[in-house]
């Protein structure tokens, strides 16, 4: 163990432990619901755009809705400890289900709604669900198709009525119907409400609060068990770290089953009392965000990348005058924006120009992005391109990075205001201790550390030590300023045959920071040199093709176009030059690459549901192509099975060209 690092962290730990718990934490989320309905009665707790209009619920309304649904569930036979699957997009009623189930001592299990029935089947079966709350017919159908294996299944509840008239009324119920059962129960027995509140008082704060299945980059998903205490303490700490209060607004658009959304849109909202807005549909998030203008916002780097790509593409279509103005003021922002955001001194001319830019460019642009009121924005999950990161910050958006895990109830580290670096993920969050193991693996201990994996003690033991330290599986180090830097998954860092270091993600990310490249898979562990698969970004490359009069009929044809190859080659050469400048990774320069004929897709199992590459699966699936990369072939025929969105399968045949890349001289040689 690195002694000095431990010391520095301990100091940080002392600082935070003193500030912990200014207001005593309540035992459970239903307690927070009751508190908010009391103290924030008329404050809007939730919004949902429905039929083109934003509808609102105050905390008092929320209590009513949740209570009647909860009592209805009780009527339908929900018992303490029952697992309830929650499947669908970000809709208010699905969020209500969390508290409604928890109030009865049940355990909500949110499930990724875009997973196909088979994938979902594993999770539902493993969790042993007795109830399912589904968004619509599509999800109900999936659950019902698994009915035979789900022996404990007692009841399926749906939110959207559409197409649901002819289902078995014994098993399948409308959300409204369940709420009616609840209100009827209260009419019959007015004491039901008091009983319900008594039930809430019996919730064990260290008991199971929610089960979140990890997306499973390797193998089957694991059910992470989090207690009320885990989530509540973490949420309270996060609120205090960024001084979030009941005035915030956020938009809930990330998968319900993802721990981030659970903490941002449920945990932190209940504890701070702020408003969560649900978009009309997943396709309308951008315009809905613009209407809401959230003050607290989270997005994975991909979203920021896509937004920037869209801005760039739109600016290319703008009139010359606008383009000139945009280019000029973005330059001004690059120079002064970050400093102004970090409250560092800036020359009077600089700040005057920035003020003008705010008026003409940054303000309207932020409005367009729905970020004009953002006080705190986070990105996490993957490395973000330094240019992209700086772009948003220079506009005056307080974009920060955090590092987290499902097992930690999200927060491990986060960047404090004013201490921002694109390459780090910040200092330990409140009450979190961090340590770097001898093999370079990052470890942490915090009040948010999970209870264990559901029905998987082996995995729990290998992840969590008896005294509460958790292995993250990420290799990283703490820099001079006390900020954590993540390099790669510790097990992924490999070695080339000549002994050189091979950090795949490091190389992949460098390539992915080019807007034309969407996904990269690098190979090199135990090989003579590094070679990569590249996925082009259809939006950016199609736009480029249009401008350069390049005709193509399909993704496959565009991907194989010689000019696309030339463009990618230029990017790869730039990355090689970058790598050559760093002695540690100079030997990991890319020697050969190919552009894949199809987009990597979660439906084909190539990506996880959170869109991370499943390396081992790709190695198996594209074995021929990898072999060809390490031979002297110039092209390789490949036939790939694909799964369409409805679950049917087909194949795509293609001959993929392989491109050699000249290597740049090594740094040492340049010096010599």
């Amino acid at each position: 163990m690195n002694k000095s690092v431990v010391d520095s962290i301990d100091v940080a730990g002392d600082v935070v432990s003193g500030t912990s718990g200014s207001a005593p934490a309540l035992p459970s989320f239903p307690h927070y619901l009751l508190r908010n309905a009391e103290t924030l009665r008329n404050r809007v707790a939730m919004r949902h755009k429905d039929l083109g209009i934003w509808r609102e619920w105050t905390w008092a309304d929320l209590l009513q809705e949740i209570r009647s649904f909860s009592l209805g569930l009780l009527q339908l036979g929900l018992r303490p400890g029952d697992k309830v699957a929650i499947i669908g997009n970000n809709r208010p009623r699905l969020y209500w289900s969390f508290a409604a189930v928890q109030a009865l001592g049940g355990v909500p299990v949110p499930v990724y709604s875009d997973s196909v029935a088979e994938e979902m089947g594993y999770v539902l079966d493993h969790a042993g669900i007795r109830f399912a709350v589904c968004q619509d017919q599509e999800q109900v159908d999936k659950v019902l198709s698994l009915q035979e294996t789900l022996t404990g299944l007692n009841c399926v509840i749906y939110d959207e009525e559409r197409g649901m008239q002819h289902y078995n009324k014994e098993l399948v119920h409308a959300f409204d119907f369940v709420q009616q059962l609840g209100t009827q129960a209260v009419e019959r027995d007015p004491g039901a409400i008091a009983n319900w509140c008594d039930g809430i008082d019996q919730i064990d704060t260290d008991g199971l609060c929610v089960m979140l299945y990890t997306s499973g980059t390797t193998g089957r998903p694991k059910g992470v068990m989090l207690s009320h205490r885990n989530l509540i303490i973490t949420s309270l700490n996060a609120n205090r770290f960024d001084t979030l209060n009941d005035q915030e607004e956020t938009i809930a658009y990330l998968p319900l089953a993802w721990v981030g959304d659970h903490v941002f849109s449920y945990g932190q909202s209940y504890t701070a009392g702020y408003c969560v807005c649900c978009p009309e549909s997943p396709d309308t998030v951008t315009s809905d965000r613009r209407e809401i203008a959230p003050s607290y916002f989270f997005a994975p780097p991909r979203v920021f990348e896509n937004l920037l790509t869209a801005i760039t593409v739109n600016m290319e279509d703008a009139s010359r005058m606008k383009r000139a103005m945009f280019d000029y003021f973005i330059k001004v922002a690059n120079k002064h924006g970050e400093k102004i955001l970090n409250k560092e001194p800036v020359s009077p001319i600089g700040s005057a120009l920035y003020g003008l830019g705010k008026l003409f460019v940054y303000g309207p642009l932020k409005n367009r992005l729905g970020m004009s009121k953002v006080r705190v924005a986070y990105t996490a999950g993957e490395a973000i391109g330094p240019d992209i990161f700086r772009f948003y910050r220079s506009l005056g958006i307080n974009l920060k990075q955090l590092y987290g895990q499902t097992e930690a109830s999200v927060y491990i580290t986060a960047q404090p205001d004013g201490q921002i670096d694109a390459n780090t993920v910040g200092t330990p969050s409140l009450d979190v201790e961090i340590d770097i193991a001898d093999n370079g693996e990052v470890m942490y201990r915090s009040p948010g550390v999970f209870m264990g994996y559901y029905k998987n003690d082996d995995a729990t033991e290998s992840t969590k030590t008896p005294d509460g330290w958790v292995h993250t599986g990420d290799a990283g180090f703490i820099d001079d300023a006390g900020h954590l830097r993540i390099i790669d998954r510790s097990k992924d860092v490999g070695k080339l045959n000549d002994g050189g270091l091979f950090p795949p993600k490091y190389i992949e990310n460098k390539l992915k920071f080019f807007s034309d490249i969407k996904e990269v898979v690098a190979f090199g562990d135990g090989k003579d040199y590094v070679a990569v698969f590249i996925n082009i970004d259809l939006t950016a490359v199609a736009n480029w093709a249009e401008r350069n009069n390049i005709v193509y009929g399909s993704y496959q044809e565009l991907a194989a176009h010689p000019q696309v190859y030339d463009m990618v080659l230029a990017h790869v050469e730039k990355v090689n030059a970058d790598l050559a400048a760093e002695p540690r990774v100079a030997s990991a320069q890319i020697r050969r690459f190919l552009v894949l004929h199809k987009e990597l897709d979660a439906d084909d199992g190539e990506l996880t549901r959170t869109l991370k590459v499943r390396r081992s699966f790709i190695v198996e699936r594209y074995g021929e192509l990898i072999d060809a990369l390490y031979s002297d072939k110039t092209e390789q025929f490949v036939s790939t099975g694909v799964t369409f969105e409805d679950g049917r399968t087909g194949t795509i045949d293609a001959t993929v060209r392989i491109q050699n890349v000249p290597s740049v001289q090594r740094a040492e040689q340049v010096v010599a």
Partner: protein, 280 residues
């Protein structure tokens, strides 16, 4: 489930689809009797009779030039047949004009998208409500009082359609910029805005990819079962027709060669020769 819940008493066996229940009742919504249509010397349709029951999905199929679109044009009064009768809701009209058809509850979409390409999705669908608007132009322009209330009511209806067709994300985009599959959907939305009793769809899936076709099929089925709209559709994709339609009428060179359920039609030798035979 616990037994004390009285509301959940409906039994499983009652779950019959709306279309089936309607077909059993056999209330004829529209009947075509011995219709013949000629253009100069060319016989587009000769002596065709069939009917459309209330609440069913009726498909009209046939090879190119079989007279399918002409048949739809006859039904909604765009062409006037030389011989024969068409009765709609029991009434026979001699020379029906398209606007008569529209005001009596027949809406249609077109083989080639015929939207107002400069207008937004919302406005296009709103235009489908124009027959339902009662206030005069004067009030509409002033946008006060009853005209305003009326517009809000129509807008609410249009929003339901937008939600139904899942096109909220393109609500305010000019339709000319939309991909073809979405334009087709908007066109369906405009026809739905009339709240028709009989909806004529002229190749609703033409030029669509598999996913768009499946979406569209779902919309057609839901439209039929949820709103009870009777649908007559022309389609080339046999898979779609066989899955969607309750009954199919097959035309070839202006003649009717078969009429019946999808399975009956599929096994009919004349149909196989004329149409399916070519495809296989």
């Amino acid at each position: 489930m616990s037994a004390n819940i009285d509301i959940a008493g409906m039994s499983n066996s009652e779950t019959q689809t709306g279309a089936q229940a309607q077909a059993d009742a056999k209330e004829v919504l529209l009947s075509v009797d011995n219709v013949t249509l000629t253009f100069g010397g060319v016989k587009a349709i000769s002596d065709i009779s069939f009917n459309i029951n209330k609440g069913e999905i009726r498909a009209i199929i046939g090879p190119n030039g079989a007279g399918k679109t002409s048949m739809l044009n006859v039904i909604n009064g765009f062409y006037h047949p030389q011989k024969g009768r068409i009765s709609y809701k029991g009434k026979t009209r001699k020379r029906m004009k398209p606007y008569h058809a529209a005001s009596s509850g027949i809406a249609r979409t077109f083989q080639n998208v015929a939207l107002f390409s400069g207008m937004s999705t919302l406005d296009n669908i709103m235009s489908g409500r124009s027959l339902k608007m009662k206030r005069g132009l004067f009030w509409q322009i002033l946008h006060v009082g009853p005209a305003r209330a009326e517009e809000i009511e129509h807008r609410a209806h249009v929003e339901k359609i937008i939600d139904f067709l899942e096109i909220a994300h393109i609500r305010k985009q000019p339709v000319g910029k939309l991909p073809y599959g979405l334009q087709k959907r908007v066109e369906l939305g405009r026809a739905m805005a009339m709240e028709p009793e009989l909806l004529l769809l002229d190749e609703p899936m033409a030029g669509m990819n598999l996913e768009e076709k499946e979406d569209m099929s779902r919309f057609v089925l839901d439209l039929n079962s949820e709103f009870g709209t009777t649908i007559a559709l022309i389609e080339h994709d046999m898979g779609v027709v066989m899955d969607l339609a309750d009954r199919v009428v097959v035309l070839d060179y202006g003649q009717k060669i078969a009429d019946g359920t999808p399975s009956e039609v599929q096994s009919n030798q004349r149909v196989i020769d004329a149409y399916l035979g070519v495809a296989s």
